[in-house]
Symmetry: C2
Subunit: 305 residues, 2 copies
């Protein structure tokens, strides 16, 4: 018998039962196979109206233009600053994203960390006017704790920048930097004038593609070296990762967070991510045996008290 | 005052004092910056007369040729089987290594793990006729424990295959798979006949180069996301990693294991690794402030009782 409910922010119902049943069943799995992976944006914290990382990069852009106004004339930056949907569509999201990544080229990993942490510490969510810390989902934080209480290794597998997520992962989610798999920017080895080795951020990605879709599965092996038996996500970019977790022989669980609560959070389609999906991802996932988390129905509290 | 010596296999002297002083000084470093990285072959376990991974691959080659004798006619394999130094030099180590990696192409990460573990469980060191477990260096195992007792995160940064090292890292060194950075083989995402996603080992490396030299530093950032303040290695492939650790502002330590004990282990030059180094690496390192570990003088015991 459980002495206290480790998931008080989850309403009683089929979803919570599926989670509790999985936790019970997983106690029969060898500890080194108890591996859980979580997407970050839209799964552990709010990703609307804009990814937090995008807000960070916009701040970097403002600062860069303040230093060098000519930068503002560059198409990729103009498209963002003027919020020009036509120009954005013409240039493509990837080209714009890489142009924004360029803003941090030339600095070391330590300085990048410092910038992200300073940004997260000082910034407020654009519409809710609370800290980003307060935009984490309480039910998911409880779930991280419940998994760890049962000796799960808990990892983050994000489409966002690896270093961006690492800068907050320990503080926000209790996940140390080596437990974060994301989209990697290339680092170049170089030496300072004193001959000491150092790493410098490049303007290019380390891999051929962002950490979304099939890449998430390959990067889980690359970075973590174990297969998950639990996965949680919220868009088509998480599809393969959820399928991969569920393909495990033995207890497994795949959670898809459905953003259906315009009142307490945001309401938007699961196919609204950066990877295209034809059809209804929620229905598709249900057919595959995924457990759908309705924010409206399953969460008693979204952001905590 | 210390109640008991955490490093009983280390003889009293300048080397042990340097380690103990570093451990003391590191208690003033924030816990999230207490990061230690260790090379594996020749640093944590014996790499002579042959890398353990090479022995594993030779076993895979024997098995493959038993199944398909024609394979034995392939130049890269013939060079190995016939121990033909001229042919080996002609083909080059990299081409031979990649041909051996090919032997495991097409299998999944789980099966690769199983093969490595089975090999390590059943095999004996070629000359000492003891298990590979018994070929770990006791003084270094004590050092891993001493670092962890002071809340260091301890990682392995090996020139060997990432998955090979991961298969034994928890059991042999208490390091979980995500804490291992090595030379990565590419994995391809695919689907089985039942539509389930799976990963399949490729015959190619994931990166442009093996995890040696400068690549070790970049891959520490890639895979672990934190900079070490302690590093231990034994060849020129560890040079940049040792320099990187020592470049940290604040307490830091770089250890170079010098294999100078033909009686109890093996005696060979530190420049005998896969990366060329002109000159005497031990003298070079001493000039840079590295702490040189003489197996002959500094270790009271090499492999334990």
């Amino acid at each position: 018998m459980r002495h206290s409910d480790p998931l008080p922010s989850w309403r009683e119902g089929a979803t919570k039962t599926a989670i509790v049943d999985f936790l019970d069943a997983a106690r029969s799995v060898p500890v080194d196979q108890r591996v859980a992976v979580f997407d970050n944006d839209g799964t552990l914290w709010c990703e609307k109206p804009n990814y937090v990382q995008a807000e960070f990069l916009l701040g970097e852009l403002d600062a860069a233009i303040a230093r060098d106004p000519v930068l503002g004339e560059r198409d990729e930056y103009r498209a963002v600053i003027e919020n020009d949907a036509t120009l954005q569509a013409e240039l493509g999201l990837e080209r714009i994203a890489l142009a924004l990544v360029e803003l941090c080229a030339g600095i070391g990993p330590g300085e990048f960390d410092d910038r992200v942490r300073a940004f997260v510490a000082r910034s407020m969510h654009r519409e809710r006017h609370v800290s980003y810390r307060a935009m984490r989902y309480s039910p998911m934080l409880e779930l991280l704790d419940a998994l760890r209480a049962d000796d799960f290794a808990v990892f983050l597998v994000s489409g966002g920048g690896t270093e961006f997520v690492r800068a907050i992962s320990q503080d926000f989610y209790g996940v140390s930097p080596e437990g974060v798999v994301g989209t990697l920017v290339r680092y170049e080895f170089s030496r300072g004038e004193d001959g000491r080795p150092r790493l410098v951020r490049d303007a290019a990605l380390d891999a051929s593609a962002a950490n979304e879709g099939e890449a998430k599965v390959a990067n889980i092996q690359r970075g973590l070296g174990r297969r998950p038996i639990f996965a949680a996500g919220n868009t088509a970019g998480d599809r393969e990762m959820l399928e991969y977790a569920l393909a495990h022989d033995g207890p497994s669980l795949a959670l898809l967070v459905d953003h259906d609560d315009a009142e307490r959070e945001y309401a938007y389609d699961a196919q609204a991510g950066t990877i295209a999906f034809e059809g209804d991802l929620v229905e598709f996932g249900r057919d595959l045996g995924w457990t759908i988390v309705s924010i409206r129905d399953d969460w008693a509290s979204v952001f905590g008290p």
